[in-house]
Symmetry: C2
Subunit: 303 residues, 2 copies
């Protein structure tokens, strides 16, 4: 036989109450069950825990000692359960979000702020890494989830659509392209182009756009960071095709965004998480918050 928690709880109740029948009422159980439980527990421990006549019940020395330890054990167990419950109820937790630098800079901060308002106990960490590393981080568990644009074919990765984002033209205020009308891809032929380096997903889409107009893509500048590209555009060194949400990074800078059509090229920004792993309560909550937030953020510019 083996000790059970129920036995220990019965023991503590009897010890505290000083009576079997009294404790049985409190435990909502019949008194014989208590007698049995204590008997079994004593047999297991090899010591008598109570001195009991039909009239008085009091702890033996061994019982007193066991009461101390048992109470501590029960309390700790309850604390452990409570802790896990807190995780489940999102009162507490940890969340690591992997995102490319631009998203990490212009979308995440506000989304996280909203998230922390709703779940103050969950601490959020950002891993601002390259797109390739995002998938890898999520796969190996370094990040709980990631946002960005990814191939749909990734293995072991679950996708949750957040928002569609169209490519947009960014030009300086003095540029002839700056106006109120949408710009066509074909109009870009005569302007020096600032692009991202070839490992960027955006670069690929830009290439698609140029191909659709049968224009050759001859970048004047190739940079890794979107913010760098915007700075170059601001300096009048060229125009850039960037995601709509780069607008947020261009705010307060002398750069304007123009709709870019024929074709409209859009890509889906998704939240990813490992499909094998269970979706932690924190990730579930974050997924909802960022989806609502992303849709509020960009609908008028993105569509």
């Amino acid at each position: 036989m083996k000790i059970t928690l129920k036995q220990i709880e019965c023991f503590l109740a009897v010890a505290e109450y000083g009576s079997f029948s009294g404790a049985s009422k409190r435990l909502n159980t019949a008194q014989p069950a208590l007698s049995q439980a204590i008997k079994d527990l004593e047999a297991e421990l090899g010591v008598r825990l109570f001195d009991r006549t039909t009239r008085r019940v009091e702890l033996t020395d061994a019982g007193r000692e066991f009461q101390q330890s048992a109470a501590k054990v029960i309390e700790e167990l309850e604390h452990a359960v409570e802790s896990v419950h807190e995780l489940a109820e999102r009162k507490r937790g940890r969340l690591t979000v992997a995102a490319p630098p631009l998203l990490a800079a212009v979308v995440l901060p506000q989304a996280i702020a909203e998230f922390r308002r709703r779940f103050p106990g969950i601490s959020v960490q950002i891993a601002d890494v390259g797109t390739e590393q995002i998938v890898e981080s999520v796969r190996n568990g370094k990040a709980d989830c990631g946002i960005g644009t990814f191939q749909p074919s990734e293995e072991g990765i679950e996708r949750v659509a957040l928002v569609r984002d169209s490519l947009m033209l960014f030009c300086d205020e003095a540029s002839p392209l700056n106006g109120s009308e949408p710009v066509c891809w074909s109009e870009l032929a005569d302007y020096p182009l600032v692009t991202l380096t070839r490992d960027s997903g955006i670069r690929l889409l830009v290439e698609v756009g140029f191909e659709s107009c049968e224009l050759p893509l001859k970048p004047a500048f190739e940079v890794a960071q979107v913010t760098t590209a915007i700075a170059l555009v601001e300096a009048g060194l060229g125009v850039a095709v960037l995601p709509t949400y780069a607008l947020a990074a261009a705010r307060y800078r002398k750069v304007n965004g123009r709709q870019l059509v024929e074709p409209v090229i859009s890509r889906e920004i998704v939240l990813i998480h490992a499909s094998g792993r269970s979706v932690s309560p924190a990730v579930q909550a974050f997924s909802q918050v960022i989806r609502r937030f992303a849709q509020q953020l960009t609908p008028q510019e993105a569509r």
Copy 2:
């Protein structure tokens, strides 16, 4: 439903082993039982503890956290059980023995020494108090047991006979009573008598002895402590009637003990413990040791 220790043990085994089927072998249980236990535990906690495919089992964040606490809880419980086992096996414990000063001085030290040799883990405390307080101490639990001579009629007190002890005459070496033959009570008439005060049980027996010879009891000195009485005898101020075991206190002093007959007055030295209370393992052990020790100590002089 409620969490059980079995569930926790199953959880820890699976967590450590990283596999249900592997853990099931180690726990000597079938794999479906494990699946069920973990499922129930997860339902109770409201969180998934493992990410499991049919091929891999690994802890979730919540699972990792719960593993920490659960392991600590189990370890502490096992420690508590172990502690109580030690009490039961007399590897550890506490024992308070109440005894009148003389017994505490001349019998207990050696008995306790022997006891501690056999049960090194049990700490022994002596409460050297008056005879009246001994019964009271045992009754209210301040002492686990007591030794001495007590009325058989004491309520709520269990008696275990240790040894019979006869009254003995103590005289200085120059006394005419000093010789090799037993002394009769009637011979005491002509000598100044050192007695204990009236609250002593020995004093009562001395009175009985004098009455049996129809001699008047006219103490020359009345003292509370046996050792004081022996000192007075040694100084040649009188003779004293004391228990045989007072011989041990008279060793190395110029006082001799003589058998005292017509009548031989003996009294039973008993060990007492509270009858309501359970006899703790330590008291059981001590009872045996002191009984054997007492019988070895005094048979030739006492009988």
